[in-house]
């Protein structure tokens, strides 16, 4: 699989990938394999020091706050307003997953933390607490 090719130290070659092809819009799985959103955007930070030189990928951005900016147009604007309405703070940015908690990048992006530890479960929690969780049988095992 391509993610094993070129891991630094294996053949001395550095790993390369194209962000749009291999990272963007990929499914994110948490430590337990649960579906945790998509890679909606990537945060690029100029390097330390004088700021020249190539930017570093510092975080994955996920959720309506991130997706809204990519979609542009009226759908994006609507998503942005939904996001700010559900977010408690005044100036909500998109939900960030610091790249340090990424474990592997393959067909999906795997994290080393659990879904609940991420800030992007807000909408899901609201739906669970206010709607689905209140219907009898919601905690019933699937089989």
């Amino acid at each position: 699989m391509s993610e094993h090719v070129g891991r630094a130290g294996r053949a001395g070659r550095l790993r390369r990938l194209d962000a749009g092809l291999s990272l963007l819009d990929r499914q994110i799985l948490d430590r337990d394999g649960r579906l945790s959103g998509k890679v909606d955007d990537l945060e690029l930070t100029p390097p330390e020091g004088d700021g020249s030189g190539p930017p570093v990928v510092t975080a994955i951005l996920s959720g309506p706050g991130a997706l809204a900016r990519r979609l542009r147009g009226s759908v994006g604007a609507w998503l942005e307003s939904v996001h700010s309405r559900l977010h408690p703070s005044a100036e909500p940015g998109p939900a960030r997953i610091p790249f340090g908690v990424v474990k592997e990048i393959a067909a999906t992006v795997g994290l080393s933390v659990r879904k609940d530890d991420l800030e992007l479960s807000r909408f899901e929690d609201w739906t669970r607490d206010h709607i689905i969780g209140r219907i009898p049988g919601a905690r019933h095992a699937p089989e």
């Binding site: 391509s2 955007d41 570093v56 990928v57 790249f99």
Partner: protein, 115 residues
């Protein structure tokens, strides 16, 4: 800065000639250590090509060859794609990126393998 701000931007060279649009951003894993991931990814350069639909369908990779109806025209279009190393990026505008030097002395990107 976000990745989405780079994607689809117009790219022009020092003389103002149109180089194309940013199809993709090539990352290389040679940045500072970050969390438990290892070395962070840094931007190596931009993949720039003609403004076509279907740039993300995956036909740029060598292993993607079918079906013939789609692969033939798309792979031909991808041969016109160029790689702009980050050190040649001069200015990041809102929708346009200016690069130093001429569009003519850009190479094709190094192909990445599929699984």
């Amino acid at each position: 800065m976000r990745l989405s701000e780079l994607l689809h931007s117009r790219v022009v060279d020092a003389a103002g000639n149109d180089v194309g649009r940013v199809h993709d951003v090539r990352l290389v894993q040679d940045g500072p250590l970050v969390g438990t991931f290892g070395a962070a990814f840094r931007v190596e350069g931009l993949i720039v090509g003609p403004a076509i639909a279907g740039a993300r369908l995956g036909y740029r990779r060598s292993g993607m060859t079918g079906p013939f109806l789609l692969a033939a025209p798309l792979r031909r279009l991808h041969r016109r794609v160029k790689f702009v190393p980050w050190d040649r990026v001069a200015e990041l505008g809102r929708d346009t990126i200016s690069i130093s030097g001429s569009a003519d002395d850009l190479d094709e990107p190094e192909p990445l393998p599929t699984a």
